[in-house]
């Protein structure tokens, strides 16, 4: 069983390592450390939202959170506007941003549960609403983050981004939540077979509600951190994270059919994806070629890692 679990995520780390080795061989060992540092700091953001997406995808077939980019943007805009570059208002700003994200999560699940809208469409339609809120509230002003937040988001210790260390702690926490807590076990059970889980007396609604709210909160955290990192919130800041969040989850070995999560795989996949882009940049590949190779890599990795038999 353990060997089976390990199988899918060692792939992504091996691929990441390979790509890194090719890159530094090409540069003659130059910038090996810098490449890793950069990969870690950029991968951190993808990992945060990837963890949330993983929980949602694990909650069963057809579950996916398409509102992640919009929620990130809303959280970033709310945080920057409430803080208004004032350090003393930082805590209030973070609380407001996470509060907004919490509401998005609740709204998502309300659409899914009460209106019985398929999760893909529910989170898609709510993301439209959330994005409009962010646009209307932000009104195109770019407010700088308060210095401590910016420092925190960009701080490094011996070349390792502080945020990456914290996200590692978060990942370990989620790893244990999935294995050892009532919520985690319930989530896996619900993901494998919702009806069986319900018959077994698991609180299906509560579990799924927690999952969607969790994902929204993680998007919120990512939005705040990214605003700190890149000097303010932008209305398109979440865009690339929609595909990235799904990609890292699936390449990382989490089952799309639900019921099987893989935390370490997300790290491997996120590093792989970023290092791949770095490698292609080093080779001087054009934007088009970079896109094609990225796509082919995704398809190759999923083909090699293999699909799984549908669980019924």
């Amino acid at each position: 069983m353990k060997a089976l679990l390990d199988k899918s995520w060692t792939w992504s780390f091996a691929a990441a390592l390979l790509v890194w080795l090719i890159t530094i061989t090409y540069t003659g060992g130059q910038g090996a450390g810098e490449i890793l540092t950069a990969a870690l700091s950029f991968a951190t953001f993808t990992i945060i939202v990837g963890l949330g997406q993983m929980l949602v995808i694990t909650s069963g077939p057809g579950n996916v959170d398409l509102s992640i980019p919009a929620t990130m943007t809303l959280a970033g805009v709310v945080a920057m506007k409430v803080m208004d570059t004032d350090t003393s208002r930082m805590v209030v700003g973070i609380a407001a941003a996470l509060g907004a994200a919490f509401i998005v999560g609740m709204f998502n699940y309300a659409l899914i549960r009460i209106l019985r809208i398929p999760p893909i469409i529910a989170t898609l339609s709510s993301s439209f609403l959330v994005l409009s809120c962010a646009i209307s509230y932000g009104r195109g002003i770019r407010i700088k983050p308060p210095p401590p937040l910016a420092d925190f988001a960009t701080a490094r210790l011996w070349g390792i981004p502080i945020s990456a260390v914290l996200v590692l702690a978060l990942s370990i926490a989620i790893f244990f939540i999935l294995r050892r807590t009532l919520y985690g076990r319930s989530l896996l059970a619900v993901g494998q077979n919702m009806r069986a889980a319900w018959l077994a007396g698991i609180r299906v609604d509560q579990t799924r509600f927690t999952t969607y709210v969790f994902s929204a909160l993680l998007s919120g955290v990512c939005g705040i951190l990214l605003s700190g990192f890149s000097g303010g919130a932008a209305l398109n800041m979440g865009e690339e994270f929609l595909l990235a969040s799904i990609t890292v989850v699936v390449i990382g070995g989490t089952s799309v059919a639900g019921g099987r999560a893989n935390v370490p795989g997300i790290w491997g996949a996120a590093l792989f994806m970023y290092l791949l882009v770095t490698m292609l940049n080093t080779f001087g590949a054009s934007a088009g070629l970079r896109l094609i190779l990225t796509g082919l890599m995704i398809i190759t990795v999923i083909t090699l890692a293999g699909g799984e038999k549908q669980q019924r």
Binding site: G62, L115, P118, S125, L129, C133, I246, I302, T303, G307
Partner: protein, 309 residues
Amino acid sequence: MLTRRHVRQALPFISLAVVLLATFYVQPRAMSYFGLNLMLQYAVPIALATIAQMFIITANDLDLSIGPFVGLVSCIGATFLTQSPLLGVFLLALLLVAYGLIGALVHLRSLPSIVVTLGLSFVWLGIAVLILPSPGGKAPVWLKALMGFSMPVVPLPIIAALVIGVVVHVTLMTSSYGVIARGAGGNDKALVRAGWSMLRTKVMLYMTAGFFGILSGLALLGLTTSGDAHVADRYTLYSIAGVILGGGEFIGGRVSPLGAVVGAITLALAGSFLIFLRISPDWQIGAQGAILIIVLALRALVSYGEARQ
């Protein structure tokens, strides 16, 4: 007798009627040949992309690459198809084969279609960017003429949508091939036991989807007259929403071609309606989300009653 099932099936059409009437109420001048033509012309490529998505959904899969695919077709159309038509047609045929191969790959390795098509979306976009790094090129003259053709009395987009909807409906809902195709999504094991090849069925479904994707790209090119890799990025989401708005479901091979076309038109029309309403641009996209939610909430209400009956 009017049962709730009938109401549910009529819901996409009722939604369209409501949005149409609301548009006419806000902007009476839209109620003309010219107005309808203008509002609905972009509904044609969206409807074609929605039909493409519907064929994939029929097999319980999902195509996240249809938007970039439509963009790629528009780029090929604006360059190769204009300069050397034979090469252009050959490339488009190659795309069709690629779609079939993807279907085979997804089936043989039982891969999650979401991930494979996610990867594909990068590939399509990449090729499109290589062909046309910035928007440009020229649509073939015949394509422009076809899309700009003015029909007597009834605007072309309405006729086109009707023809697409009816043809696909008849094929998928009444022919034996259509029954098998829907069976692939309903119960694949039963299909295999009855002696049908699941591989062949899936390849056919994917190739049909590719075919309608190509039609969508060409139709869009005929309207925009120049190619752009990013022109249809939103189509992926539009097409999924269109299928669901039209009464389709993600699993079980339960789809409705006529509904899908109507769903796509409703989405396209909702855009014009919101512009006529003079809603602040900030809320345009939000209002579109709200319309989606309202329509689906209505369906939930009807279905809920149906289950209780």
